[in-house]
Symmetry: C2
Subunit: 369 residues, 2 copies
Amino acid sequence: MDEITFAVVGTGGIGRRALEVSQHKDALTPVAACDRHGTAIDFDGLDVDELLAATEGNIDNEVATDGGKRTDGSRSSSALRSDGGAGATAAEGGVKQHGENKGVVASEQAQPSEDSIQDIIDHGDGIDAVLLALPNYEHDFIPRTADRFLEGGYSGVMIDVLKRSRVIGMLDERREAFEDAGITFICGAGATPGLLTGAAALAAQSFVEVTDVDIHWGVGLKSGYEDNRGTVREDIAHLPEYDIDTARELSDEEIEAIIDDHDGVIEFEDMEHADDILLERAGVCDAEDVTVGGILDVRSDEKPTTTTVSVTGRTFDGETATNTFQLGDETSMEANVNGPALGYLQTGVRRNRAGEYGVFGPVELMPGF
Amino acid sequence: MDEITFAVVGTGGIGRRALEVSQHKDALTPVAACDRHGTAIDFDGLDVDELLAATEGNIDNEVATDGGKRTDGSRSSSALRSDGGAGATAAEGGVKQHGENKGVVASEQAQPSEDSIQDIIDHGDGIDAVLLALPNYEHDFIPRTADRFLEGGYSGVMIDVLKRSRVIGMLDERREAFEDAGITFICGAGATPGLLTGAAALAAQSFVEVTDVDIHWGVGLKSGYEDNRGTVREDIAHLPEYDIDTARELSDEEIEAIIDDHDGVIEFEDMEHADDILLERAGVCDAEDVTVGGILDVRSDEKPTTTTVSVTGRTFDGETATNTFQLGDETSMEANVNGPALGYLQTGVRRNRAGEYGVFGPVELMPGF
C-alpha cells in the first residue's frame, strides 16, 4: 500500500499508544498529534520516541472541557479548549504535569495552540487520515468535531474509537455531507466496538439468522491505569448509577472512591456500546439482540475474564449453534484497541482513495495489517 | 443493498447449497445455474425449490473432464465438457442419474448445452456475480474459466471457493486483465480458505507480528456425503500418498476403499490450502507460518473435532498470546462454506459497483450478511 500519513487528535492513553503501535507499521507515518494544549506537526514524520518520552509525565486525561451544545455554529464549540467551560476545573486535575508545559507541548516538536483541531484542519491536505482518540469527551463531541473538518474543507479519512451507540446515528446523519466532501468516516474502530464487532459479523456467516450476540470483555489495567484514566471514567459512566454527564463531573477522588468500593474490580452489564447499532445497520441482527458487558480490574494486569464474543444463530439446515472468538489473556486493552484502529485506518484510506465516501463501521470493513 | 443477480457454475454439493442458502438472503436472486449437461437461466429468478427437487437424484459429482493443458487458446479447453477427456470414464460414475436427463437438465428450467459456461457468458450482462462452485476440478480450471469470461467480455464479480494455494498466483497474474475488463475476482471465499482465513486476519489485529496461524477443521459428513463426493475426492488429494492428478484418476470404488482403510475418519495434516498465500499477500504473516489440517468423518454427522483457528503473535507491548476463533460443532460444512461464499459475493458486488477491480481475498474483504 502507498504511504499513509495520519494525525492523532488526543494524546491520552489511546492516542499515545496509537503513535507507538504505528511504528510497527511500515505503511503508516504519523505526521501530527495534538491535545488541547498544542499541536505537533512534521510532514517528514513525527519523532514518536521523543514525543512519548517528553510527554510521559504529561498525559492529559482531562474530561470534556466543552459542555455546551453547539448553538451558534461557531467552531469554538468543539475546540479542544483549555480556557474553561463546564468541567474545566475537574479537567485540570486530569493533567499529569511535569515541568512548565502541559500535555503534548512538553515535546520539543509541539507548539502551544488555542485551537489545535484547527491546526490539524489547516494542514489537512497533507493528512490522509485523522484518528480521533478522544474516549472521554461527551458523546456528541466526535460528530461536532466532524462538522469542523467538514467546514474546513477536509477530504480524507476520519476514524474514531467511540463507544456509545447513540453516536452512530449522529454520524449517519452527516453521511451526505461526508460524501460531498470526500470524507470516509470509520466509526467504532477500536476493540469494542471494533475488532470484536467485526469478529461477531464474521462469526454470523455460518447462520441465516442471528439470534444472540454476546460480547464480554476482561481488562486488567494496573500498569496502564495512569495512562487510561479517561477510559476508566468512560467505563464508570456505564454503571447503572451514573451516566455520561454525572461521570464527567466526578472528581478524581470520587473515581478512586468508586474503585475502592468495588475492591478495584468493576463489573459492567448491558453497556451502551455501539456494537449493537453497527451490527443492526449491516443487517446482521437486531440491536436488541446484542449485549456488551465486561470486567475491569484496575489493580491487576491479569485479565479478570477472557474476552469472548459469542454469536448464536440458526443455520440454513435448521441447526442452532454458537461460534466464538476469544482474545488471548496476554493481549492488553491497548493492543486490542490500537492494532485494530490502525488496521481500520489503513483500510479506510484504501476506500477513500477508491472514491468511497460516507460512514463505515467494522462490520463492513476488514482492517489492514 | 440493491438487488444482486448471480449465477452458479456447478450444481454439485456446493452449488446446490449455495442456491438453497441464497433463498434466505433478500438481496440475492439466483438467475442461472449450470453443470456440464446444461444451463438453467431465468432473469425473474430461478425456482430453486423446483431445481433442487428435480435434480436431487441427479447430482453431478464428476471429477474434471478436462485434463488437457490449454495450448490452442480455444474455449473448449475449459468447457464443462461431457464429451470425454481424461477422467471422463470415472466421471460418469459420479453422476447419480434418475430418469433420462443428467444433472441440472433434470430440472424443467434447464436446457441441455454443449458448452454451458458459454451460456452464462452470453447472458453476462444480466448477471452481477458468478459463483464458481467447482471444488473438484483440476487446479487451473478456475483461472482458465476466468480467461473465458475475460474473452467473452464479462464485467462483474467472479467468486470461487477454491482451496489450493497455487491457484492464487495464477489469478494474480490476471489482475491487470481483470482491471481492464471490470472484473472483481474474489478468491478463496468458502470456509477454508474463506471464513476461517478472515477470522485469522481479524485475530491478527492484536499483534504487531504474527508468528503462527493454525487452522484445524472438523467435518462430519454422513448425511452430506452423497452430495459432496467431489469435495471428499478433493480432500483425499491432500493425503501424502496422493496428489490432484492421482486422486482424480481414482474410481469411486477406490475412494470407498480409502475411506474403509481409515474406518471412515481421515485426518489431514499440512494441507495445501490457500489460506497461507492469502494471509501472506495481505502482509499478515509468511505463508510458511500457516498450517491447515483437519479431520473428516464420513460416517457421522457429528464433527470429529471442533473447527478452530489459532493465531499466535507478539503484541506491541512485548507479550505473546494466542487468539482463537471456533465454529460451533452444530454448524455443517455446507453452512460454513455457503454462508461466507454468498457473503463475500455481496461484498464483491459492492466493490465492483464502486469501480474496484482485480483480485481480492477474504483477508481484505468483510463478507456481507
